[in-house]
C-alpha cells in the first residue's frame, strides 16, 4: 500500500513539475501572439505595428506565466471562433459579422478581467492600459486620416448652428 502511495505521489509530483515546465514564458507568448494562422484559407497574423507594440509591452512589463497561459488560451479560442465563423477574409475587421466581433470583444474583456493585462474595446478601438491605469497604446490602423483638422471646422459650425437656431426661435416668437 505504501508503495502504491509513493508511486501515486511521484506521478503527481511529475505532473506538477511538467506543468511548470510547460508554463508559457513571455517569449512563448510573443511567438504565439505574432504567429501566422491559416484560417479558412486566409493567412492571418497581427500587423507589423501591433507586433512592435506587443514587444514594447512585454519589454516594459512582466507578464506572469499564469497570465501568459491564460492569454494563450484566449488566443486559441479567438482562432477557433474565427475558423468556426466561416469567414475567409480578415483584412478589414470592421466588415466581420457582429457575432464574431462580439466573441472577440468578450475574449479581450476576459483577459482584462482575469490577468494583469488591462484592455478595453470601445467603438471598434482596442486600448491597452499600463498597470497604473494610464493608456499604454491604442491599437489602430497604421495609416491615419490626416485631412484638414475637422475639430476647428466642427467648432465653428456648432457656433453658427447655435446662432442660427437662436435667430429661428426669435423669429418664431415674433411671428407667434
Amino acid at each position: 500500500m505504501k508503495k502504491i502511495m509513493m508511486t501515486l505521489f511521484t506521478i503527481v509530483l511529475l505532473f506538477v513539475c511538467s506543468a511548470n515546465v510547460s508554463a508559457m514564458s513571455e517569449s512563448d507568448l510573443y511567438a504565439k501572439l505574432t504567429a501566422t494562422y491559416n484560417i479558412n484559407g486566409y493567412n492571418f497574423t497581427i500587423s507589423a505595428g501591433d507586433k512592435v507594440l506587443a514587444k514594447k509591452y512585454l519589454d516594459a512589463y512582466e507578464v506572469s506565466s499564469k497570465d501568459a497561459d491564460y492569454i494563450a488560451g484566449k488566443i486559441d479560442e479567438a482562432v477557433s471562433a474565427m475558423r468556426n465563423s466561416g469567414v475567409n477574409d480578415f483584412s478589414d475587421f470592421s466588415k466581420l459579422p457582429k457575432s464574431l466581433k462580439d466573441t472577440l470583444r468578450k475574449l479581450v474583456e476576459d483577459i482584462a478581467a482575469n490577468t494583469s493585462v488591462k484592455a478595453t474595446v470601445k467603438k471598434g478601438k482596442v486600448v491597452i492600459f499600463n498597470p497604473d491605469g494610464t493608456v499604454f497604446a491604442e491599437i489602430t490602423k497604421t495609416v491615419k486620416n490626416t485631412g484638414m483638422n475637422m475639430s476647428i471646422i466642427a467648432s465653428l459650425a456648432l457656433v453658427v448652428v447655435i446662432a442660427g437656431a437662436i435667430i429661428l426661435i426669435k423669429n418664431a416668437k415674433v411671428n407667434a
Partner: protein, 205 residues
C-alpha cells in the same frame, strides 16, 4: 385685432436651408480667410488643455543597446520635428489618435523610436501649422527629430503619393532606421484616400 402668423413647415424649411447655406459660406470664408488666426488660438487652447502632456515623464535611452528604457507616455510631447527647408518646427507626440493629431505631429506607437534603428512613422494633418507644406519637401532635405534624449538627423531619400491602404509603402522594419512622414493628399475638406509620404534615412554628414 392682431393677426397670428403660423410658423409653417415650409417657412421653417426655408429658414433651415438659408441657415445651412450661410453656415457653409461662413465656414469656408472664416477657415480660408482667418486660418492663421484660428491656428494661433487653437494652439493656445491646446497648450492649456494638454498641460499634462507638456510635463512628460523622463525618457531614458540605452545608447549601447539602442533601446528606450523608459518610453514617453501615450499622448506625451517628447520632442520636435524640424524641417528647415519648409520652415517647419512642430511638436512631436507619442501616439497618433485623433486627439493627439489635433495637437501636432503624431508618432505611430507601432513603430520604433528615434535611435532604436527601426522604422519611425509620423503623421500630421495637411492644415496650416501641421504638415501643410510636406509636399514641398525635396530629396536631400534634412529632417531633424529633436527629442528629449537627443537629436537625430535624417536625409530625405524619396517622396511619393500612395493609397491609404497600401501598407507596403509604410514598412515597419526593425533593422533599418527609416523615417516615414505622411499627410493626406491632396489638400481639402473631406476624406482623402491618398497620402503624401516622405522617406528619410539617417544623415551621417
Amino acid at each position: 385685432m392682431h393677426k397670428k402668423h403660423k410658423f409653417s413647415k415650409k417657412v421653417f424649411a426655408t429658414y433651415v436651408a438659408i441657415s445651412f447655406l450661410f453656415v457653409s459660406v461662413f465656414i469656408v470664408c472664416v477657415y480660408f480667410g482667418f486660418n492663421k488666426t484660428i491656428k494661433r488660438y487653437t494652439n493656445l487652447i491646446n497648450t492649456v488643455a494638454i498641460k499634462r502632456s507638456e510635463e512628460a515623464r523622463e525618457i531614458s535611452f540605452d545608447k549601447v543597446n539602442k533601446k528606450l528604457e523608459v518610453m514617453p507616455a501615450y499622448g506625451d510631447k517628447y520632442g520636435n520635428v524640424i524641417i528647415d527647408s519648409i520652415q517647419l518646427n512642430l511638436p512631436l507626440y507619442y501616439g497618433d489618435n485623433e486627439e493627439i493629431l489635433s495637437y501636432g505631429i503624431g508618432h505611430y506607437a507601432g513603430s520604433y523610436f528615434p535611435g532604436e534603428g527601426g522604422s519611425i512613422i509620423l503623421a500630421g494633418h495637411n492644415d496650416p501649422g501641421y504638415f501643410e507644406r510636406l509636399s514641398e519637401v525635396k530629396e536631400g532635405d534634412k529632417i531633424t527629430l529633436d527629442v528629449s534624449y537627443g537629436k537625430f538627423s535624417y536625409k530625405v531619400q524619396s517622396t511619393k503619393i500612395v493609397n491609404e491602404n497600401d501598407l507596403d509603402s509604410f514598412p515597419i522594419s526593425e533593422d533599418r532606421e527609416l523615417l516615414i512622414l505622411y499627410t493626406c493628399y491632396p489638400k481639402g475638406i473631406g476624406h482623402k484616400t491618398e497620402r503624401f509620404v516622405v522617406y528619410a534615412e539617417g544623415d551621417e554628414s
